[in-house]
Amino acid sequence: MTKIEKRADQKFFYKYTSQFGLIIMVSAVLLFFIITSPNVFLSGSIYLSFLSTVPTIGLMALGLTFILGMGEIDLSFPSVMALSAFLFASVYKSTGNFLFAFLSCIGAGILVGMINGLIVTKIGVPSIVVTLGMQFLIRGFSNLISDGTAIVVPLRGTISQQIFAGKLLGIPVQSLWFLGMSILFYFLLFRHKFGEHVLFAGDNQESAKMMGVNVDFVKIAAFSLMGAMAAFAGMFDLYRMRTWWPTMGEGYLMMIMAAVFVGGTSMFGGEATIFGTFVGSFMIGALEAGIVAAGLKGFWTRFIIGLLIICAVIVHTLIRKRKK
């Protein structure tokens, strides 16, 4: 190698150290599973099952990546997921019209996100507080309007089920949606004006304002996007289960935050990684299912996920420090 090539090579590695670290971690987890329970992890069916469950986590993790990149947080999305899915379920059940159901589902997600954003920007309440309240409020509201009972939705055999929970060449379509959305979000964050404004708002709000970024608008839009993604994820889970239940979304909050942090997005704003979130979602989603499949007792899940999160964020922080 010539000197210049070598330098470029080092730069490449330098630039992507976090990504390499992540891939190594995923491989290690996989290897661990293969060794502990080869009959499960050497057959393809477990991976196919990941491909239908992980996208629910991933879609919301993508939205949360924008929120964290902006230096904010959202705790309300699991409840939004439940509310939106409830609307989808009840509208679909009473009208049989996919479009109405879809619009009310996504519309509700956007609306709640917008309210979050408005309270954060126009009144100035920290997002952690607003969305904490909203999390209870929306959960309570969906319990009230649903009377706390589950709804079975006649989705089996519909065309829309083929689109949102079917299989394409044997692959669960949810995973293709997730892949497509990840690519879209990558371009939105790193190649689009909106994403640039999100990162600048998270980095230095005052500077962003001085250069003509409408920071309030950007924040409201990002919270709305998060709401839309929660609604979207709710719809996917509804198609997969064909049942809405009042506790839908509970348990997702910590998992999804873990996926984003393990991926390498920092909570200080101004920096974010879509690739990391993509891999992190698979890692967290697969761990949960994998540990059970591996025959380990359930509480191992939490222990190992906890260990992994701590290791991952330590690695990311060290790498970030070295780059400074």
């Binding site: 004006k193 990162l199 962003a208 001085m210």
Partner: protein, 253 residues
Amino acid sequence: MVNIIEMKNIHKSFGGVKAIRGIDFTVGPNEVVGVLGDNGAGKSTLIKIISGVHSFDEGEMYIKGKKINPRKHCVKTAHKMGIETVYQEKALAEKQTLWRNIFLGRQMTNKLGFIKVKKEIDETQKIMRELMKFRGIGANAESYIRTLSGGEKQGVAISRAMYFDSDLVILDEPTMALSLQEVKKVLNFILAVKERGKSCVYISHNIANVYPVSDRFVVIDRGIIVGSYNRKDISLEELNEELIQYTKTKTQQ
């Protein structure tokens, strides 16, 4: 020719703090105005009203003869009216790359709003070569702002203003972090603005820098204008003496 800026009896408070208390301020066509005054006098607030960062509470403002509605005036509209500002805070984001900082708010995009990355980077390299004249210290268009030195950051902020050619350039303490040689470059830039028939507002605590490039000086004290001089009527020594007088009366109060 119509004045670039005309402000009449402008007031601005932040909560209880009255930062600007009835200021009349004009910038004529092809005029360089030096703005002087103590820390906290209201200089930055004044120029941020012009550049659209802050609105004003009372009074009237005209830009190029057009009456400004304080509710509608913002950074974007100020940019469109040809006002370019180098802020005291530099207005850069540390974790972002140099090229993104240059074009923030004025990105080159396609119709869908996607950024033409290569074009922005190429343009930034040109800016660095021709305007910043960075002497290859390892900084490039894709460097993160946090990796630059104080002077380099200042250089980025100033070149950004130079690049977006405008009718009024506002410089708020642009020479703070700069070496003598770099200061010279900034002063030459101001003279070049004047030569091109454009106007400039130059804020600095360093009177020796302000004096030779300005046509007129305005002294602000606690939110009001307390003095205004044409350079041809006053020498540097006399101006210095005047400023000392203001400080004296202030401490006596």
